[in-house]
Symmetry: C2
Subunit: 444 residues, 2 copies
C-alpha cells in the first residue's frame, strides 16, 4: 500500500480538487479522498497537478528516428512515406528493440502510461519471416516493459501496396502472404500473452483500405470480434485514398469498413480527416473511437478532421503522437481544439475537461483498458503529475488547472509518473533509463 | 573581448556549421570563424546549436496574466476581449512593471533578445493621464532592461471604441483625446530616449482601423516617417473588422492604411489573416513586414493567413507571441509552416532556414534593429543556444540542425542566452531573476 498526496488532482471536472489522497495497492487505486489537509506521514507528496496517466492511442515507434530529418524541402505525405520506408528497411528485431525502448521511455517522461502500437513492420528483408514470425512484435512488447509503460500491440494486416498495386520491396516486410497467414501469426502472438497480463494486450489493425481488400478486412474484423480485441484502422487520412476507394469500390473507406463489420465500440478510426458527412454519422452511430494525431496531421499536410461533428454524432475522440515529430500528448490535446478553431472560427468547441478525457480515459479504453485513465478506485494506478512551478504553469488557480494543463503546459513540465503503481519518472527523470542518452545512441 | 565556441551554429543556411568561434567586443560581434577545432582556452563553450537571438515582434505584455484563464468555454475573439479588458483595468505603473519584468524575463529564457511591445495601456482609470503621461511606457522600458532584453516600444494610437463607436470605460485608458495629443505624448517619450540607446527604440502603432480614423492614421504614419521609426498596425485579424471597414469606408483595412501613407519597409502588418488578394500585392509591393502570431491566431480562432502568398508577393514575415498563451518562438515558427500545410495540403512551403529567419533577422529588422538577428561581424552579440541533449533534440546531425530547432525543439530546450554581449541565461536559468518565482508572485 502506498498513499500519494496530490496538491491538486484532476478528477474529471473543469477544475481540479485540492489535497487529494490516492491510496494504491499493487497496480490498482483502492481509495481516492478529497480535501485531506493532513495526509498520513508516509504519504508521497505530489506537488503540482496530478492527472490520470496519458494514453498514446496511435504510435509507429520506428518513426521516432525520422524526427528532424524529414521536414525539409517541399513534398507531400507520399514523398515523406518514401523516407519512412527507407528507415523501415534498415531495422531488425535487435535494433528495433533499442529504438522502441528509448522511444517508449520518452513517452513515459511525457506522462504516457499506455501506447497503442500500430505494428506493421513484421518481417525480415524481402518479406522473409524471422525464425519467430512475431520477433518484431515481441521486441516491441519487451521495449514497452523495459520503459515501464503498458502496450496494446495492434497487429496490423497489410496485404497489398495499394488498391490493385503490388507490394514493393519495403512493403514486403509489412505483408503476410494472405489474411489467413496474418490470422495465424496474430493468433500465435495473442495466445502467447496471458489473458490477465497487467501490461500487454494484443489487438488487431487493418492498415488501410489501400493495403487490405474487403474480404480480408472482414476476416480481421471477425478475429477482433471473436477475441473482444481492439481493432484500429487508418481512415481517410488523405484525399487520394478516398478518391481511389471511390473509383474502385464506389464507396468511402468508412463505408467499406462498415460493410466488412469493422465498426463497433471496439473500433478506432485513426485520423478520420477527410470524412463524408454520412461517414461521421456512421462512426458516431457505432460509438467508434476516432484517434486524432494533430501534430502529425499538421506535419503531413493531411488537414483538419471534423472533431466536433464526430463527438456530436456519438463518436469519442482519442489522441496519438503517431509519427513522433513531437511526443507531447498535451500539445496533441490543445491542437484538437485549436485546429477546430482555425477551421470553424469559433472558440470552445472542446472544453479542457473534454480534451483531457481524450488524452486519458478515452485513450485507455480504446486500447482495451476500460479500467484505466481515471483517478478512481479499482482503476490502474497511473498518476501523471504536471509541475505548476515552471515559467509556463506557475500562478495557476485550482479552477483553471485543467485549462493550464491542456493549453499552457508541455511534456517538459511532467515531473512524476506512476504507472500501474510503479514510479517510472521521478523529478523529471526516468527511474531506470537515461532516455536522452539511449535516444542519442540509437539515432547516431 | 569574449570568445564563444559554438559546437554548432546556424549561420543562415539549411544546416549548421561546426566549431564556430564568435568573438564579441562590448555589445557587438567582431569576428565569426568556422571550423575552429581548437578554440582558445579562454573561449566559453556553447554546446548544442547556437542561433541568433530571437525577436518577438508582437507582444502585449499584460496579456501574460490571461494565460490559462481565458481558454475555457465557448466564445470568440470578442468575448475574449472582454476578459482582457477586465485585466487591463486593474493595472497601474507599479503592477505593470512587475508583470512585464517577469514576462520579459520568461521571454529571455525562451531565447528572445528583443521584444516589440505594442503598447496601448497608457492612462489611469477613466483615462486620466498619470503625472508622467508616459508612466506606463516608462515602466515597460524599465521592465525590459531589468529582464536583460532590448525593447522597441510601439506607442499605440487609439482614439475610438470602434468605427463610429464611443470609447468604453476600459478603452478610455488606451486613448488619447485626439491624434495631436498622441503625437505630443509619443514625441515626448521618443525624445527622452537617446538616439544611440543600445537597448531601446520608440516606434509607433496604429491600433487598427477600428480604433483610429483615416486622418489620424495619416498623422501617425507621418510621425513615424519623419523619425525613421517602425510603424505597426493590427490588420484584418477578424472578418468582422473587414466587414465594418468595407461598410463605412468601401475599402479593406490594407487599402485604408495604404492611402494614409502607412505602408513602407518600416511598416509591419500584424496578423494579416483575412486579406483580399489585392492586399497581398499591396503589402508585398511596399516590402512591408507581416507579423504572424500563430499560437494566438489559433487560440482566438482568427484563421490562417496567406503566409506563402505574402512572401511570394515581396513581403517578409516576422513572428510574435502576442497574447502569450505560449511564449515559444520556435513553436510560432513551426506553426507558420504547419498551419500553411493544413490550409493548402502541401509540405515545405517555408523551409527551416526561412522560418528561422522570420524568428531572427526579420524580426529584429522590423523593430528597427537591422544590425541584429544574424551571427555576423558588426551585429549585436545576441546568441541563443538550443540544447541538443534533451529527449526532444538528441541525435541531431549538423545538416538537420535548423530543422530540429524549428520542428522539434521548444522553449524548454533553450540553455544559454547572450544578449548584447551579456549572459542573460546560463544553464537554462536567468542570471538575475527567479523567473518562475516572479511570475508566480505577480499572477497570485
Amino acid at each position: 500500500m502506498t498513499a500519494y498526496h496530490c496538491d491538486l488532482a484532476w478528477l474529471g471536472g473543469e477544475g481540479a480538487e485540492r489535497d487529494v489522497l490516492v491510496v494504491v495497492d499493487g497496480d490498482r487505486i483502492t481509495t481516492v479522498e478529497e480535501a485531506v489537509a493532513e495526509p498520513p506521514e508516509a504519504a508521497v507528496r505530489l506537488p503540482g497537478l496530478t492527472v490520470p496517466g496519458l494514453a498514446n492511442a496511435h504510435s509507429h515507434a520506428f518513426h521516432r528516428a525520422l524526427r528532424g530529418r524529414t521536414h525539409r524541402g517541399p513534398g507531400s505525405f507520399w514523398t515523406w512515406r518514401e523516407q519512412m520506408y527507407e528507415l523501415a528497411a534498415s531495422l531488425d528485431p535487435d535494433s528495433y528493440h533499442r529504438l522502441a525502448r528509448a522511444t517508449f521511455a520518452e513517452m513515459a517522461l511525457a506522462g504516457i502510461s499506455v501506447v497503442g502500437e500500430f505494428h506493421y513492420l513484421h518481417h525480415g528483408p524481402g518479406g522473409v519471416p524471422y525464425a519467430d514470425p512475431n520477433a518484431m512484435g515481441v521486441a516491441l512488447i519487451a521495449a514497452a516493459a523495459d520503459a515501464g509503460i503498458r502496450i496494446t500491440l495492434l497487429d496490423t494486416c497489410y496485404l497489398q501496396g495499394g488498391i490493385g498495386v503490388e507490394l514493393d520491396d519495403t512493403q514486403r516486410r509489412f505483408a503476410d502472404p494472405d489474411v489467413g497467414a496474418w490470422d495465424a501469426r496474430a493468433s500465435a502472438l495473442a495466445d502467447s500473452v496471458p489473458a490477465d497480463s497487467p501490461g500487454v494486450r494484443i489487438g488487431a489493425a487493418i492498415h488501410s483500405v489501400r493495403a487490405v481488400d474487403p474480404p480480408a478486412m472482414a476476416t480481421v474484423a471477425s478475429w477482433a470480434a471473436a477475441r473482444g480485441a481492439s481493432l484500429h484502422a487508418h481512415v481517410s487520412e488523405q484525399p487520394a485514398e478516398n478518391e481511389r476507394c471511390a473509383e474502385v469500390y464506389g464507396r468511402t473507406p468508412t463505408e467499406l469498413l462498415s460493410e466488412a463489420g469493422a465498426l463497433s465500440a471496439r473500433f478506432t478510426a485513426v485520423h478520420a480527416t477527410h470524412l463524408a458527412h454520412a461517414d461521421v454519422g456512421r462512426l458516431g452511430a457505432s460509438a467508434c473511437w476516432c484517434c486524432f494525431c494533430p501534430t502529425t496531421e499538421r506535419d503531413l499536410a493531411d488537414g483538419i478532421g471534423p472533431s466536433r461533428a464526430l463527438r456530436q454524432a456519438g463518436a469519442r475522440l482519442t489522441l496519438g503522437s503517431d509519427s513522433h515529430a513531437v511526443i507531447d500528448l498535451l500539445e496533441e490535446a490543445r491542437a484538437v481544439e485549436l485546429d477546430e478553431r482555425l477551421a470553424r472560427g469559433v472558440r470552445g468547441r472542446h472544453d479542457a475537461a473534454a480534451l483531457l478525457r481524450m488524452a486519458t480515459e478515452h485513450g485507455h479504453a480504446s486500447l482495451g483498458y476500460p479500467d484505466a485513465g481515471r483517478i478512481s478506485p479499482g482503476c490502474y494506478a497511473d498518476l501523471t503529475t504536471i509541475g505548476l512551478d515552471s515559467v509556463r504553469t506557475t500562478g495557476t488557480r485550482p479552477e483553471d488547472a485543467a485549462a493550464v494543463a491542456v493549453f499552457a503546459a508541455t511534456a517538459a513540465d511532467i515531473r512524476h509518473v506512476v504507472i500501474g503503481g510503479r514510479v517510472v519518472v521521478a523529478d523529471g527523470r526516468h527511474t531506470s533509463i537515461d532516455v536522452a542518452g539511449a535516444l542519442g545512441h540509437v539515432l547516431r
